[in-house]
């Protein structure tokens, strides 16, 4: 049950220009990969490439499960700037959609526990359109906790602390630390300072 990520000479383009020189990084289970860089350096694009949502112009991104190649779709959960929730549907409906697409069986108990952990259990049946930005963000983070078992998926977090209050940020930091202990890989971009207790942190400066 060990996940590993191999970024091999990856280059990404935006508008026909390369964003950064070829990037080569390999990480294994329990690593926090902290992607840093100025605005427009290509952090989000890199995360999207890791999630399989963008294709590199050169090089390749490889995910391995116990040494065997696996797809980004099976190995990762990506939480980006947008919340991936439809305003007209309830939190539960949105999460059930997300889990089904991620190829998991939707278990209400699991969803309940995830929402509970993020402190938004009482919002489960509310339409997303009626929630505040912070509440939406928390609800969308619940997607991370719907994996098969702790540590089973890599988390790709693009600016996860935006719109979160201090307490929620602390809680998220703890969740990330726990997930890392369970053997996950967490890739993270952030403009805010954070304190995550991790055995191994790799910094990537774009």
């Amino acid at each position: 049950m060990a996940l590993s990520l191999h970024i091999n000479g990856v280059q990404l383009e935006r508008g026909g220009r390369s964003l950064f020189p070829p990037l080569t990084v390999s990480t294994g289970a329990g690593t926090l990969l902290y992607v840093r860089g100025a605005n427009g350096a290509g952090k989000t694009t890199l995360l999207r490439a890791l999630a399989g949502l963008a294709s590199p112009s050169a090089g390749e991104v490889a995910w391995r499960q116990d040494g065997n190649p696996t797809t980004a779709a099976a190995a990762t959960t990506f939480v980006g700037h947008a919340n991936a929730m439809n305003d007209a549907l309830s939190v539960i409906e949105n999460l059930s959609y997300a889990t089904s697409l991620a190829g998991q069986i939707y278990r209400p108990v699991l969803v309940g526990a995830a929402l509970e952990q993020l402190g938004v259990f009482n919002l489960a049946l509310r339409r997303v359109g009626t929630l505040s930005q912070g509440q939406r963000k928390r609800a969308s983070l619940a997607r991370l906790l719907l994996r098969e078992q702790p540590g089973a998926r890599a988390w790709l977090l693009d600016e996860p602390f935006v719109a979160l209050d201090v307490d929620t940020q602390k809680m998220l930091e703890q969740l990330i630390a726990q997930e890392l202990k369970a053997g996950a890989i967490v890739v993270l971009t952030s403009h805010q300072d954070f304190a995550i207790d991790s055995a191994k942190t790799t910094e990537v400066l774009l």
Partner: protein, 224 residues
Amino acid sequence: MSLRLASTAVARREFQLFARRKSDWANPLMFFVIVCSLFPFAVGSESERLRLIGVGVIFVGALLATLLTLPRLFDEDARDGSLDLLLSSNEPLAMLILARVAALSFGIGAPLILAAPLFSFLYALPADVALMLALGVAIAVPTLLLVGAIAAALLVSARGGAILTAVLVLPLTIPTLIFGAGAALKVLFGESPVAELSLQAAYLLFALALSPLAASAALKISTD
């Protein structure tokens, strides 16, 4: 197994949205109703004249109403980020798009199919023509949505979406328009519509086979 799970989820979400936001299916219907009601003012109300243009008006009206719903396919999802869920699914994207188009055809198509015969009577068309029209619209709506899904997918990240969608999609709907309206006209003139109807259905099958693949390629291009 998990493909079935995922495509059911896609279709179910579409129906949930239809139930939550009635305007999603009511607006195209209203558009269709109003377009169909405008023509007699322009061409006159003699039954003979109406009967001749009726089939065409109703068919084109239904196609345009369906065209209006194309941005709903991917635009909203692209804005709120849920398109990424679809794209990062392990299941074949083409099948998920197909599930979505199927649900959308049902949600948009059913009201139009019910409205088409009603308007046939306003255009002094006999009942058998009205039925044939409903059948023709029932085939044309999914055809347009399938072909339109390609354009909608391409235009997710481009400027000038709505008009460009029409420019790209409408020429490709000509076969279904010719055969669908042709079948109803054949019935109107007391001939057998079988040839037209089968050709229209053949074009639907053709679109069914190729469009989801093209649309998934398109979606990957525009979100890359």
